[in-house]
Amino acid sequence: MANQLHVRLVTPDRVLVDSTADAIELPARNGYMEALFGHAPLLSELGAGEVRTHGGHAGEQRYFVSWGFVEVLPDRVTILAETALKPEEINATEAHQELERGEKLWSEAGDDAEKYEEANHVIEEAEAKLASASSRS
């Protein structure tokens, strides 16, 4: 069908989604954004969050993405994700443990800016994971 985006979600292990959609929501580093057909070409890094597709063959689908990279072209969206999980695949207890680990790292980081960053990263990822898992409908 015309005027639909070709969406691909690729992880190091497999190609998760290869389908079409009307719209796609992306967790860009600086906040969520939505891409529709005819979007201007764009490259962006993705933070931890959810990728959502709407309409088209893909239908309503949600994937949790920890870190990724996206290329938006007028008719095509390609997402490179380090890990991508369906909400039901998320292990909530593990995510909780991760969050605790992140908080521990954060409190131990001291003056080291790099460690702070790493700790923040872990916390951010775990929180996004939990949010994604709890909003399961």
């Binding site: 992880t11 580093r29 070409p41 490259l43 072209l73």
Partner: protein, 355 residues
């Protein structure tokens, strides 16, 4: 001369061995197929990563405009401290697989006499051999790898990546890559190389030493040392593959992947002006460490596939040898039995004749 009973016992024992080797061969073949699939399905990601980095590299200066410094992973320094990642197998019974890897690692070390080499061994077999040969690195604070006390020019780093090849996933590979890149960024090492067994197909493998850091040219692989399979090995591997039903060429599997790869190659390289959501330089910095991770992951995937291929070949040879041994033992046993019968007959006949 051995008696029939002894020979029969030998045959039974060899038969048992043959059964084991045959089972191992089949298991290796099945796991090889899975490893091949995994390696194949990781390709689109790696290709996309490479092409987007290449196109970014063309558009963006890797030099930070504020400080005028290159990205730390692109800086080259004289190679005084080298990290050598040795990817070997987790198990034995794989012919010369592990020995070849260790040999390549030793050749590399011998060729860098004036440098200090740290070895990070991935895979149990290589680690065990290297541990006997090189001393372990000493740290006063071993948990954080600080307070290094260097005793020998070549030392083995403490390994906390046990079993990474058993349950190979990208997360663990990128954990390792993260360690390496941070060592490099802090100038603890001046170069990082990987020794692993490259796997194109069952009959196309070679041991390579590849440089992963510093990154000089994205998408180009820098191979420092290779060791090809011999013709004989190749033939053996081919026979083994046929007898266990593994396809020799990648042709069938490739066909589907080709198109995806073509598309992957175009990823992020369209001749349009992209809107960069972030600063392109920032994107570049975020992508470079991941590029190293994909390279390492790729090396490990190939090494795992190669290990199973080597095991399959070795076990096929063992099965054939066992069959041959059984044949010759059976022949010997029949001879002995016949000789005994003949002897008894002669005794009876000559006994009767004497009457």
């Amino acid at each position: 001369m051995a008696n029939v009973l002894d020979l029969r016992r030998r045959i039974r024992s060899v038969k048992n061995t043959r059964q084991i080797t045959k089972a191992m061969k089949m298991v290796a073949a099945a796991r090889l197929r899975r490893a091949q699939e995994k390696a194949l399905s990781s390709r689109p990601y790696a290709m996309m990563m490479t092409s987007v980095l290449q196109s970014l590299r063309r558009r963006v200066d890797a030099v930070d405009p504020e400080t005028g410094q290159m990205h730390p992973l692109l800086v080259t320094r004289p190679e005084k401290n080298i990290l050598l990642v040795v990817i070997s197998g987790e198990g034995g019974f794989a012919g010369a697989f592990n020995a070849n890897i260790v040999k390549a690692a030793n050749t590399f070390i011998a060729g860098h006499k004036d440098a200090q080499v740290d070895i990070q061994a991935i895979g149990r077999k290589g680690r065990d051999v290297l541990r006997r040969r090189y001393p372990a690195a000493q740290f006063t604070d071993s948990a954080r790898q600080e307070g290094r006390h260097r005793a020998a020019p070549v030392e083995l780093l403490d390994d906390h990546h046990h079993g990474i090849l058993h349950q190979l996933n990208f997360e663990r590979a990128s954990g390792l890559a993260h360690e390496i890149t941070s060592l490099y960024a802090h100038e603890k090492i001046d170069a990082a190389y990987v020794v692993y067994n490259e796997f194109k197909s069952v009959i196309q493998q070679r041991v390579v030493v590849e440089r992963v850091l510093p990154i000089l040219e994205i998408g180009e692989r820098e191979v420092a040392l290779t060791q090809e399979m011999t013709q004989e090995e190749r033939e053996r591997a081919g026979e083994a593959a046929i007898s266990s039903g593994v396809s020799l060429s990648e042709a069938e599997a490739e066909a589907g992947a080709k198109q995806a790869e073509e598309e992957a190659r175009r990823f992020g390289t369209a001749e349009v002006d992209y809107i960069y959501e972030q600063d392109p330089g920032e994107l570049f910095n975020a992508l470079l460490p991941r590029y190293v991770a994909t390279q390492l992951y790729h090396a490990m995937l190939e090494s795992v596939a190669a290990e199973f291929a080597a095991r399959m070949t070795a076990m096929d040879s063992a099965t054939n040898n066992a069959s041959e041994l059984i044949d010759s033992l059976t022949l010997a046993m029949n001879r002995v039995r016949q000789a005994a019968i003949t002897k008894e007959l002669i005794e009876i006949v000559s006994g009767a004749a004497a009457l």
